[in-house]
């Protein structure tokens, strides 16, 4: 399938900060790419270049086969953008916002009105549609902003951190809306700092850090890079840390990670279930009491830690101060 979004060697510098440092990415038609990275990784800069808001210092980008720097006007007819900060006018009602965006996309007077009502229904905003956006909750604003990106039913969508700052319930609602939305075959690039979000929504995940792609693959492929399953045990008493470490080392092949304060030991294993049983038998024989035990697949947090050497939540240098 053809790549609907394609970028190669994108570079963008702001003063001494290299926001993008040779980023490559490709999104095949009808798929979702999750661009995953911490604050300041260059996600927003990449989206801004792809949506023609800014020009790259170097590199090339194509959306729907059009060069974003050479034919920005035509590119804009193909895309919908929903940004990190809900770009809606808070003095207008939800309906008026969508109507305005429809008119600016070049819809006629009537079609713009009809489409606005349709989207309000679809995004569960019908009741609030005639209230000024000022009265909306954060989740409602985001949904309205997303609806704005969909007014002209563009074939390519960009969502820049669609759920950052939302409470868990609004986030799940947003996910439902996004999942519904892409059933129609829209090509979507979404950026996120949440590993769970990329895992839930994206077909393919691109991990970026310091303006560069550092890994790419499906969630499963990425997890495989960090090894298979993990045994995680939490001890009742920290006195047993030493002996439990000895037991675990005897069962598993990889290194055992120890978190002293949480009294937690974690180790990658290849044959999870049998290794877990063996571990438990030996711990029991040594009279080591446990408060919790789990066999779990690596989370994307493990992936991030392995790939970048820092946790995803940790803000990288530079960007944090900009906000």
């Amino acid at each position: 399938m053809a790549d609907v979004i394609r970028a190669s060697g994108l570079v963008k510098t702001y003063g001494t900060v290299r926001a993008l440092d040779g980023l490559d990415l490709a999104v095949p038609e009808g798929t979702i790419l999750g661009v995953l990275g911490p604050n300041g990784a260059g996600k927003t800069t990449a989206v801004r270049i792809l949506t023609t808001l800014i020009e790259p210092d170097a590199g090339q980008a194509f959306v729907a086969g059009l060069d974003v720097t050479k034919e920005p006007g035509k590119v804009r007819e193909q895309l919908g953008l929903s940004g990190q900060y809900a770009a809606v006018d808070e003095y207008l009602t939800g309906y008026e916002n969508l109507d305005m965006v429809g008119r600016l996309y070049g819809l006629g007077r009537r079609p713009a009105k009809v489409r606005a009502r349709e989207l309000l229904d679809q995004f569960r905003l019908a009741d609030a549609g005639d209230r000024p956006v000022k009265t909306y909750s954060g989740g409602m604003r985001r949904r309205l902003d997303l609806a704005g990106a969909l007014v002209a039913q563009p074939p390519v969508l960009f969502l820049d951190e669609p759920t950052t700052g939302l409470d868990p319930r609004s986030r799940t609602e947003m996910w439902d809306v996004i999942i519904d939305m892409v059933k129609g075959g829209t090509t979507l690039l979404l950026t996120t700092q949440y590993l769970e979000e990329a895992d839930q929504l994206a077909n393919n995940i691109l991990v970026v850090d310091h303006g560069k792609a550092i890994a790419e693959g499906t969630a499963d492929e990425l997890k495989a890079q960090v090894g298979g399953e993990r045994i995680e045990i939490v001890l009742s008493s920290s006195d047993d840390l030493g002996s439990a470490h000895g037991v675990l080392s005897g069962v598993v092949e990889g290194a055992v990670e120890v978190d002293d304060r949480a009294r937690r030991l974690t180790a990658p294993v290849t044959h999870g279930a049998s290794a877990l049983m063996e571990t438990l038998r030996r711990l029991d024989a040594d009279n080591i009491a446990l408060s919790d035990v789990a066999l779990r697949r690596p989370t994307l947090d493990d992936v991030f830690l392995t790939l970048t050497g820092h946790m995803s939540e940790e803000p990288a240098n530079g960007e944090a101060a900009k906000r």
């Binding site: 953008l81 900060y85 207008l92």
Partner: protein, 265 residues
């Protein structure tokens, strides 16, 4: 992008800005209250001490306040654009297949609507304190049009400022710093003939002075008042139009170029 599309998109944005005025009427209340206050203060407080030969001070004053006020209202464009940048809605607009000039046309266009309202209210207030139009209807319409035209040009300067500076507060402060001297070092409130040396030249070549003088002539106010022997004041209408054209020629391209690079902050 065709001119029709730019104009239509501009209308959509104008409508958006006017809805805001409807929802937050305080904005309009304050932008009309301050000129009313100015008229009353100058007419009754300063006016009692200022003597303009050959005319009543109130007749002399009102065209000056018109000029000052329409210029102040034009700062709305700058503040509005700075606000759009801060709130991020500029990203939405710039990602839409709309005319690059539409947001600016819409902003400056809503200033014109604002100014029509403000001029109307000031005219009523002026009438209440004794100001009268003593010329023909045609001349008077010419005077009002000239005010709107010059203010429209100023809106484009403010558009550029709004896109350059980081926040609404900065726009307001910057505008205040520039507009106050610009509208006071002029013949708006007092005749310039007693201004010292170089200040007198500045005041008389100031387009705010020529705008004021043009309005006085077109409304038939202060005909007996002294007018400086400067080309700008002897031919105030062409001189004001010249400035208007110059400002538009410089600041429309500057603002549009700036808008093309603007992203939310």
């Amino acid at each position: 992008m065709s001119a029709t599309k730019a104009f239509n998109d501009g209308l959509v944005i104008t409508k958006r800005n006017l809805i805001k005025i409807k929802r937050v009427p305080d904005l309009l209340v304050f932008s009309t209250m301050s000129p009313i206050m100015f008229i009353l203060l100058f007419a009754y407080v300063f006016g009692s001490a200022i003597d303009v030969p050959g005319t009543s001070y109130r007749e002399f004053l009102i065209p000056g306040i018109f000029a000052q006020t329409v210029i102040f209202v034009s700062t709305t464009t700058g503040a509005g654009l700075a606000d759009d940048m801060q709130k991020g809605i500029i990203d939405r607009f710039r990602s839409l297949p709309m005319s690059r000039a539409a947001v600016l046309i819409g902003r400056t266009g809503s200033d014109v609507v604002n100014n029509i309202l403000v001029i109307f209210i000031m005219s009523l207030t002026g009438y209440a304190v004794g100001w009268r139009i003593r010329s023909s209807v045609l001349d008077a319409i010419g005077g009002f049009l000239l005010l709107l035209l010059f203010a429209y040009a100023i809106s484009w300067i403010m558009a550029w400022v709004g896109l350059m500076v980081p926040s609404v507060e900065v726009v307001n402060n910057a505008a205040f710093m520039v507009i106050f001297p610009l509208t006071f070092i002029a013949n708006t409130f007092v005749p310039t003939n007693n201004f010292p040396g170089v200040l007198k030249d500045i005041a008389n070549w100031n387009p705010v002075s020529s705008l004021t003088q043009a309005c006085r002539n077109l409304f038939g106010n202060g005909s007996g008042a002294p007018v400086g022997d400067y080309w700008s004041l002897q031919h105030p209408v062409p001189y004001t139009l010249l400035w208007t054209a110059l400002i538009v020629a410089v600041f429309v391209p500057l603002s549009v170029a700036r808008y093309k690079k603007a992203t939310s902050r």
